[in-house]
């Protein structure tokens, strides 16, 4: 037995509150990040990922207070992303209690921010998030930024290789074709990254059932699998996800 494949629930937060479909039985306040995080922790989540979707910069600092509270109660790794533009942003989140910070659009616009941040705070804290969309009819993918709205012309795998060279410690790889579809991960995309890069790959986008999580590891070769809706709507618990993965022969922490 060795390193376990990780299961990571992802939470959208805005203004320091959890938004979008948290539907646990008995949860007093579905928007309370501490309560939600604690619930996932009890279920055996290996990490938590918070995506800040706050639209206005006025409310951005609220996530710092939120991370501070979660990190005082839940003792598993916390990744925070969304709107991270500079090394100063990275530091603020780490000081609040985040363990890793994910950088997406800003990394594409200014790759030096990845190099700079990983040099200052260590690669282990820097996750580069890549939103990729398949080029029609071809076995390659293009990087999109700004929540999938803006095409960049960059080849996703080439960008991943570059991000690794710049000092990323991990890649959070989301298929824009699959995100929200519940049709499962883009396994070819995931496998292309996992088999090419030396750093760990978190597969994201498209999970609609537990079988998809196992496929992400077995066929996509992902090191970790991230999902939102199947956990939020209490269709499945993280524990059920791990039981399922274990039956498929995947090593998980239980």
């Amino acid at each position: 037995m060795g390193l376990a494949k990780r299961v990571i629930p992802c939470l959208d937060v805005s203004g320091g509150r959890v938004v979008k479909g948290i539907n646990f039985v008995g949860l007093r306040d579905a928007g309370d990040p501490v309560e939600v995080a604690r619930r996932y922790d009890e279920q055996g989540a290996d990490e938590l990922c918070f995506l800040d979707i706050t639209a206005t910069s006025d409310n951005r600092d609220l996530i710092l207070t939120m991370i501070e509270s979660v990190a005082s109660q839940v003792f598993i790794p916390l990744t925070v992303g969304g709107g991270v533009r500079s090394v100063a942003d990275v530091r603020r989140l780490l000081n609040a209690g985040a363990d890793k910070v994910s950088i997406n659009s800003a990394a594409v616009q200014n790759p030096e921010v990845v190099a700079d941040a990983s040099e200052k705070v260590g690669s282990q804290c820097i996750v580069v998030a890549i939103d990729a969309k398949q080029v029609a009819g071809e076995a390659r993918w293009e990087v999109y930024t700004h929540g999938g709205r803006r095409a960049t012309g960059l080849d996703a795998l080439e960008w991943g290789v570059r991000a690794q060279a710049l000092g990323a410690g991990e890649i959070l790889l989301t298929s824009m074709d699959r995100d929200g579809t519940r049709n499962g991960f883009d396994l070819a995309l995931t496998r292309a990254f996992a088999d090419t890069l030396e750093i760990p790959i978190i597969a994201s986008g498209g999970v609609g059932c537990l079988e998809h999580l196992s496929a992400g590891v077995l066929e996509g070769h992902a090191d970790a699998v991230l999902a939102a809706s199947i956990f939020h709507y209490a269709e499945s618990t993280v524990r059920e996800a791990k039981d399922h993965m274990a039956i498929r022969g995947i090593e998980v922490r239980r």
């Binding site: 060795g2 000081n95 260590g122 804290c125 750093i199």
Partner: protein, 218 residues
């Protein structure tokens, strides 16, 4: 005098360590400090570390903390975490930088991928099984094979087998904890390892620095 000092030399995120310790010991006074005098005055000392070891060594010296670390490691319950473990050895292959030399041996990198073998992901990131190799007050209540959270690319190769306190496989066995006298050091992150990690931190706070639980009257 504080109950516990976390040595802050400007490298990485010490909040997680502080929060976890405060959680297991709400009544303890826990300081994050870069003041050598405060390190000397503390009852217990935690020596964390993140990032690259050459930067950690440089920053430690830039803040004049080297002697305070060595004094603490020679005199009171001392817990090294991650790079805080690696810095206790003689030398690291990361930048070929000398460490504090408290333990004999080197810190080496996980092997780069070899053709026709399964790719080894580096950093070693995630939850892996820790198998204690000797009884120790810090392992009390922690079962063999308990999973702890790791994130690192380098690991120690001690020359003195007697200091090995635990091993982990990735995929070959490597040393993930060492112990000698009042010093205990771990490659994993107890502050991020949920119940098992909190137990280890609680054990550390309860530890008097002796290898055997002290018995009154003996």
């Amino acid at each position: 005098m504080s109950d516990l000092a976390i040595i802050d030399y400007g490298m990485g995120n010490l909040r997680s360590v502080q929060k976890a310790l405060q959680h297991v010991a709400p009544d303890c006074q826990i300081l994050v400090t870069s003041d050598p005098a405060e390190v000397r005055a503390a009852r217990h000392v935690v020596f964390p570390g993140q990032g690259a070891m050459p930067d950690c060594m440089r920053e430690l010296d830039a803040r004049g903390l080297r002697q305070a670390v060595l004094d603490a490691a020679a005199s009171k319950p001392f817990l090294g975490i991650c790079i805080g473990l690696q810095m206790l050895f003689e030398v690291s292959h990361e930048g070929n930088v000398p460490g504090l030399g408290l333990f004999r041996g080197e810190v080496v990198r996980f092997p780069h991928p070899v053709a026709d073998q399964e790719r080894l992901k580096v950093p070693h990131m995630g939850w892996n099984e820790v198998n204690p190799t000797q009884p120790h007050p810090l392992w009390v209540g922690i079962s063999a094979g308990e999973r702890f959270y790791f994130v690192h690319s380098y690991y120690p190769v001690p020359l003195e087998p007697g200091i090995v306190a635990a091993r982990t496989r990735y995929p070959e066995p490597f040393v993930c904890a060492v112990a000698r006298d009042n010093v205990f050091a771990v490659q994993f992150h107890p502050e991020k390892s949920q119940a098992a990690g909190l137990r280890l931190l609680a054990n550390f706070l309860a530890w008097d620095g002796l290898l055997q639980p002290s018995r009154p009257g003996t």
